[in-house]
């Protein structure tokens, strides 16, 4: 039986489209979506699609990758401060390590993240960030 279908499927909207949520009480925006607002403790939200635009807040390069990501190593990961506020951690793509700089403009793209169970398993797709051209 194929594994991890349900957990991957549940996250498809946030992973493919960067959909988080916005607090209906105070307007704070969250990614990933939260169930309780960390700003006003409100519990009512609408979903919110982020623009995918932001700035590189910090980054590093992984040479010893976690299980499931070995074939991509070495690869860079970063924290991207979205224009709408939240800080998102993600893999970076379409960029060489020596080109990365804190503060550079970034944009979201949807890419393949990993393969579950090698060649037989689910292909997992999601957001990554690359420098804005």
């Amino acid at each position: 039986m194929a594994e991890n279908l349900a957990p991957n499927w549940r996250l498809r909207e946030q992973r493919y489209q960067l959909v988080g949520n916005v607090c209906l009480n105070c307007g704070a925006k969250f990614f990933p979506p939260r169930q309780v607002c960390t700003n006003c403790r409100g519990a009512e939200f609408d979903s919110f699609q982020f623009s995918g635009k932001g700035e590189l807040y910090s980054f590093t390069t992984l040479r010893s990758a976690p299980a499931g990501f070995e074939s991509y190593a070495p690869y860079s990961v970063g924290m991207v401060k979205l224009d709408e506020g939240p800080l998102v951690e993600a893999m970076l793509t379409d960029v060489n390590e020596d080109e990365l700089a804190i503060g550079m403009k970034m944009e979201m793209v949807t890419r393949k993240i990993r393969e579950e169970e090698g060649e037989r398993g689910l292909l997992v797709y999601g957001y990554k960030f690359r420098p804005t051209s």
Partner: protein
């Protein structure tokens, strides 16, 4: 018997978008590895997908560009159709994932099309019919490939990666209005890939005269005659481009000038993008065309057949073409890799 296809409701291209990965390998680098000649290579360099790219991810970016130019809500799409010979799954649609990523899932048709290099224009024909019949207002047709070439085969020099997406819709909102289309198909086994095989087989010179030229020339000649047009009625002509030689020879035999065909001829820089090849040639033309220009688009797919279309550019193209990245952006970003990295990126290394 009317062989030209023209929808009852006028249809056109509402938005378009291209995609090419950033990696390139030079044909000379491939020749170096296999001891081939330095000169007379079919193209200069070809695009190579990164480790995290495939037909699905490339389709998503091209389609996001097309939707940005179309200026429509993705929920207005009633079809998301992806033509390719490199769908990542053997069973499971690429199109559902593309639709989900675009925000188009829900009340929408989705399907993957397969007709070698003609799969993209086949999807475009179907999208025209869906809109033209008033079953839907908007439909998305994509031609995209990460083409496979067997190491040391002639196709390894040209099998590239890239393609384009088109939002088709009512002509009154179009950047380019469709005049009519025509299709010409026979059963000609010039190129195929059997189930479970990694690489396609081809008939060497058999892919030329009875396949590419027979279908491209016949479709174009018949279409022009039925439309009462000559090559001089077109400002631009886009042909399927497996290499530089075939489309230039076809254009010459049909009476088109180099000026009419060169802007669409991207194969020398990105390789043969199979189902995306004629469609991304067309995006580069749309990036440069003027209102009232007439464009001929002729695909070819092995197996074999050609689709021919005539489009006339409208004033709206000038207003909307800079709402997304132009084809030149993707042609211009190039990171050259050697054969070793190419082998890694194309999954040609045995790891266990």
């Amino acid at each position: 018997m009317n062989q030209v296809m023209k929808p009852k409701r006028e249809v056109g291209i509402i938005g378009y978008g291209a995609y090419v990965p950033r990696y390139r390998i030079k044909a000379q680098e491939i020749a170096r590895v296999w001891g081939g000649a330095d000169e007379g290579l079919p193209i200069e360099e070809k695009a190579v997908p990164g480790l995290d790219e495939d037909t699905i991810t490339m389709s998503i970016e091209a389609a996001r560009n097309a939707l940005a130019r179309a200026q429509i809500d993705p929920q207005q799409l009633r079809a998301v159709w992806v033509g390719s010979e490199s769908h990542p799954y053997a069973v499971k649609p690429s199109s559902t994932l593309v639709a989900e990523a675009l925000g188009a899932s829900g009340a929408v048709l989705a399907g993957d099309w397969q007709f070698a290099c003609k799969a993209g224009t086949e999807a475009m024909q179907a999208a025209i019919a869906l809109v033209g019949s008033e079953m839907a207002d908007y439909a998305l047709a994509i031609g995209m490939d990460t083409a496979q070439g067997r190491p040391h085969d002639a196709l390894e020099y040209t099998a590239g990666a890239g393609g384009a997406a088109y939002v088709m819709g009512p002509a009154e909102n179009a950047l380019a209005r469709l005049e009519a289309s025509y299709s010409y198909v026979t059963d000609t086994p010039d190129f195929f890939r059997r189930a479970y095989q990694h690489y396609p087989e081809h008939g060497n010179r058999f892919t030329g005269e009875p396949a590419y030229f027979e279908h491209t020339l016949t479709a174009t000649k018949n279409f022009l005659e039925l439309m009462n047009y000559t090559p001089r009625d077109f400002q631009w002509a886009v042909f399927h481009q497996p290499n530089m030689k075939f489309p230039l020879q076809a254009a010459h035999e049909l009476g088109f000038t180099r000026d009419q065909v060169m802007p669409a001829l991207l194969v020398g820089k990105i390789g043969n993008t199979y189902a995306g090849a004629s469609l991304i040639g067309m995006t580069n033309v749309l990036d440069h065309a003027k209102p009232k220009d007439r464009i001929l688009l002729v695909s070819f797919g092995s197996g074999a057949g050609s689709d021919a279309f005539s489009y006339v550019v409208t004033d709206k193209l000038v207003e909307r073409r800079d709402l997304a990245k132009r084809t030149a952006f993707y042609l211009g970003r190039r990171e050259f890799i050697d054969y070793a990295r190419y082998a890694r990126y194309r999954n040609k290394l045995v790891m266990n």
